[in-house]
C-alpha cells in the first residue's frame, strides 16, 4: 500500500492535496477555508500561490461519482496528506482509506470515518452561531428595539445546518427569551433570489437580523441588507463560515454584515499538516470548538458596539467553561424549550 510515488519533499514540508466537491475552493465556505489554511501553512497567500503544484494543489470533483476515483488518484500520486471537506465525502473516504493504509487522510465536518489513517474534524457550529445570535440580539437591544424579530435562512435542510440554526436561536433567546423567530430553507445552495425575496419580506415585517447558512443563496440576504441599510433602515445580515464583513460593504467601511459565524476550517488543515510534519498524525476525531478557536464570531464591523462585544465575550467564556449549554439538534432544543416549535429544521 501507500503508493508513495513522489516522495520528493523539497524543503522538508509535507505535501497535501485538497479534494473538493463541485463548488470548488471559492465557495467562501469550508473549501475556501481549508484551502486558506493550506496556503498559509506554506507561507503563501491567496494572491501568491507560488508553491502550488510543488507542495499543495486541489482537485474539484464535478459530480459525486468522481469522489472515489479522485481519492484513489490522489493516493496514487503520493501526497503526505489528502484532505476532503464535507459529509458528502464520508462514505467514499470510508471505502478508500482502508485500501491505502499508509496514506494520511483528513476530513472536515464528520466524526464517523473511524479509520486509523483518517483524521476527523468536527466543528461546534452551534457555539459560534450562539454568539452571532447573541450579537444580533444585543445590538437590537442597544438600538432600542422593543420587540425585535429574527430570521434564519438555510440552504438544503439537514443536521449540520440545524446546528447553526439552533445555536443562533439560543443565542438570541439568551437576550430576548421570547423573541419571535422565523426560518426558511431555499432547498438549493444556489438560489440567492429566493433568499433575497424572503429576507426582504422579513425585513419589511420588522425582522431585525437575518442569519443565512445557505451557501450561495446567502448572498441574496446580504444584497438585500445592503440595499436597506443604504436606504437608512436598521436591518442586518449575518455572515457564515468566513468573515463576510467585506461582502457586506456598501459604503466606505459600512457593512451590512453585522457579524459572521466563523468556522475556521483552516485550523483543521493547519492542525493536520503540522501533525504530519511532526510525525504525530493519527486517526482520531478532533473537535473544533470555541475553546480551540475552531469557531467564533467576527467583530470586524465598526458599528458593533463595544458594550455588545464585551457581553458576547463574557458569554464566550461561559460556553468554554461549560456554564452555558447549547443544544445542537432541534429535538434537544425543543425538549429543553430552547427553540420554538414549527421551524423547518431537520435533524438528519
Amino acid at each position: 500500500g501507500g503508493a508513495k510515488e513522489t516522495p520528493v519533499v523539497p524543503g522538508g514540508k509535507p505535501t497535501i492535496r485538497l479534494l473538493t466537491d463541485a463548488t470548488g475552493i471559492d465557495d467562501k465556505s469550508f473549501n475556501a477555508a481549508a484551502w486558506r489554511g493550506i496556503v498559509e501553512f506554506y507561507g503563501d497567500t491567496g494572491g501568491n500561490t507560488s508553491r502550488r503544484g510543488a507542495f499543495y494543489d486541489v482537485v474539484t470533483a464535478q459530480t459525486q461519482d468522481m469522489y472515489i476515483p479522485n481519492l484513489k488518484q490522489a493516493a496514487d500520486e503520493g501526497y503526505d496528506l489528502i484532505a476532503v471537506t464535507g459529509f458528502t465525502w464520508a462514505d467514499s473516504l470510508n471505502e478508500v482509506a482502508p485500501l491505502y493504509p499508509d496514506q494520511n487522510f483528513m476530513i472536515v465536518d464528520v466524526d464517523y470515518v473511524t479509520q486509523p489513517n483518517v483524521m476527523n474534524f468536527v466543528y461546534r457550529e452551534e457555539q459560534g452561531s450562539y454568539l452571532v445570535g447573541m450579537v444580533a440580539a444585543l445590538q437590537a437591544k442597544e438600538d432600542g428595539i422593543a420587540n425585535p424579530r429574527f430570521g434564519f435562512i438555510g440552504g438544503v435542510p439537514g443536521a449540520t445546518i440545524t446546528k447553526f440554526e439552533m445555536g443562533y436561536i439560543q443565542g438570541i433567546r439568551s437576550v430576548f427569551p421570547n423573541a419571535p423567530i422565523v426560518d426558511y430553507y431555499t432547498n438549493d445552495w444556489g438560489k440567492p433570489e429566493l433568499a433575497k425575496a424572503q429576507a426582504k419580506s422579513w425585513y419589511d415585517t420588522g425582522v431585525y437580523a437575518v442569519y443565512s447558512a445557505a451557501g450561495g443563496s446567502g448572498n441574496g440576504t446580504i444584497a438585500q441588507a445592503k440595499e436597506y441599510r443604504a436606504q437608512g433602515r436598521n436591518v442586518w445580515a449575518i455572515g457564515v463560515d468566513s468573515d463576510q464583513y467585506a461582502d457586506g460593504l456598501y459604503d466606505g467601511t459600512k457593512s451590512s454584515v453585522l457579524t459572521s459565524m466563523i468556522k475556521k476550517v483552516e485550523s483543521s488543515s493547519l492542525y493536520a499538516l503540522h501533525a504530519v510534519e511532526n510525525g504525530t498524525f493519527t486517526g482520531t476525531v478532533v473537535a473544533m470548538s470555541l475553546a480551540d478557536d475552531g469557531v467564533g464570531y467576527s467583530a470586524a464591523n465598526p458599528e458593533l458596539s463595544k458594550n455588545v462585544i464585551a457581553q458576547v465575550e463574557a458569554a464566550k467564556a461561559d460556553i468554554i467553561n461549560g456554564k452555558i449549554t447549547i443544544y445542537g439538534t432541534y429535538k434537544e432544543a425543543l425538549a429543553n424549550n430552547a427553540a420554538p416549535a414549527g421551524l423547518s429544521a431537520r435533524d438528519d
Partner: protein
C-alpha cells in the same frame, strides 16, 4: 392578501430578467432563428456585468458604474451571440448545435475569465448593486416593461417589425420583396444576445452580490418556455414570465398557512415548473410558433 402585495416587488425582481431574456428569445424566433443559447448568453452577460461593475466600482466610479457595467454585459452577450448567428445564418447549421455549444462554452469561459480577473472561481463581490425606488421597485422592472413595450412597438408598429416577422414566417416571401433576410436574422439573434446579456446583468445586480457558476441556474431555459407559453407575443410572454415569477415566490405569501407548512418544502420548489407545465397543457392547441423558425434560409427561386 397583504402578504401577496408585499411580495410584489420581489416577484417583479425575479420576473424582470426572465422577461427581458424571453423577449429577446421571442424576437430571435420571430426572425426565424431558435436560440437555445439564452442560458449561456445570460451567464456571459452576468459575468461580464459583475466583473465590470466590481472593477469600475473599485476604480472609484460612482453610480454610472452600474449602468456602464450593464451595457458591457449586454454587449458581451451580443458578442457571443454572433457565433450563433454565424453558424445558423451563414453556415446554415442546425441551430440547436451552436446553441448547445454556446451553453457549454459559457460554463467554461465565465469561470475562466473570473480566474484570470480575480484568481477565483467567481467574480469578486461588488459593494452596491441596483437600488429600489420609493415604491421598492428595481430599475430592472422598468427596463423589462420598456423592453416589452418596445418589442411590441417595433414588431407591430414599424415596417421593420413587419419585415422581421415575415422572415420568421416565410423568408423567401420576404426575400422576394427585397427584404434582407440574413440581415434581419442577424438583428434577431444579436438582439436576443444583447437582451440575454442585459438580463444576466440584471440578475447579478438585483439578486446577489457577485457572479458564480450558479447565478443563472436554468433561467435561460425558463425563458425559452415562456416564449412558447406566451405564444411568441410580447403580452403573452410577459404573462407567462409573470406566472412563473408568482409561482416562484409562492412560498413568500402562502408559507404562513399551516396546512401548507405540513407539505415537504420541495413542493414549493416544484410549483413554478408544475404550474407552467399545466398551463401549457391547458392553453394548448394550435401551434403558434413562427413557421420558418429553426430552419436555415436557403436562397433560391421557384
Amino acid at each position: 392578501m397583504n402578504l401577496f402585495f408585499n411580495a410584489i416587488p420581489s416577484i417583479l425582481m425575479i420576473v424582470s430578467p426572465i422577461l427581458i431574456v424571453a423577449i429577446g428569445g421571442m424576437i430571435c424566433e420571430r426572425s426565424g432563428v431558435v436560440n437555445i443559447a439564452l442560458e449561456g448568453l445570460m451567464g456571459l452577460g452576468a459575468c461580464a456585468t459583475a466583473s465590470a461593475h466590481v472593477l469600475m466600482e473599485t476604480a472609484g466610479m460612482g453610480a454610472p458604474s452600474i449602468w456602464l457595467a450593464l451595457l458591457i454585459g449586454s454587449l458581451v452577450g451580443m458578442l457571443f451571440s454572433v457565433i450563433h448567428a454565424f453558424a445558423s445564418i451563414n453556415l446554415k447549421a442546425n441551430q440547436t448545435i451552436s446553441g448547445t455549444g454556446i451553453n457549454l462554452l459559457a460554463d467554461g469561459v465565465t469561470i475562466f475569465a473570473a480566474q484570470v480577473l480575480f484568481s477565483a472561481d467567481r467574480t469578486r463581490g461588488f459593494r452596491m448593486g441596483m437600488q429600489t425606488d420609493a415604491l421598492g421597485i428595481y430599475p430592472t422592472v422598468y427596463i423589462a416593461i420598456g423592453v416589452v413595450i418596445l418589442s411590441w412597438f417595433v414588431l407591430y408598429r414599424l415596417p421593420f417589425g413587419m419585415h422581421l416577422r415575415a422572415c420568421g414566417e416565410h423568408p423567401s416571401a420576404a426575400d422576394s420583396v427585397g427584404i434582407n433576410v440574413k440581415g434581419i436574422r442577424y438583428f434577431g439573434v444579436l438582439t436576443s444576445g444583447f437582451l440575454a446579456g442585459l438580463a444576466g446583468g440584471c440578475i447579478v445586480l438585483t439578486q446577489t452580490i457577485q457572479y458564480t457558476s450558479n447565478t443563472i441556474n436554468g433561467r435561460g431555459f425558463i425563458a425559452l418556455a415562456a416564449v412558447s407559453f406566451g405564444r411568441w407575443r410580447p403580452a403573452g410572454v410577459a404573462a407567462a414570465a409573470l406566472l412563473f415569477g408568482v409561482a416562484q415566490a409562492l412560498y413568500l405569501f402562502t408559507g404562513g398557512i399551516p396546512a401548507l407548512k405540513a407539505l415537504p418544502s420541495e413542493v414549493f420548489n416544484i410549483m413554478p415548473y408544475l404550474i407552467t407545465l399545466i398551463a401549457l397543457v391547458v392553453f394548448s392547441g394550435k401551434n403558434y410558433a413562427p413557421l420558418a423558425s429553426g430552419q436555415p434560409y436557403e436562397k433560391g427561386a421557384s
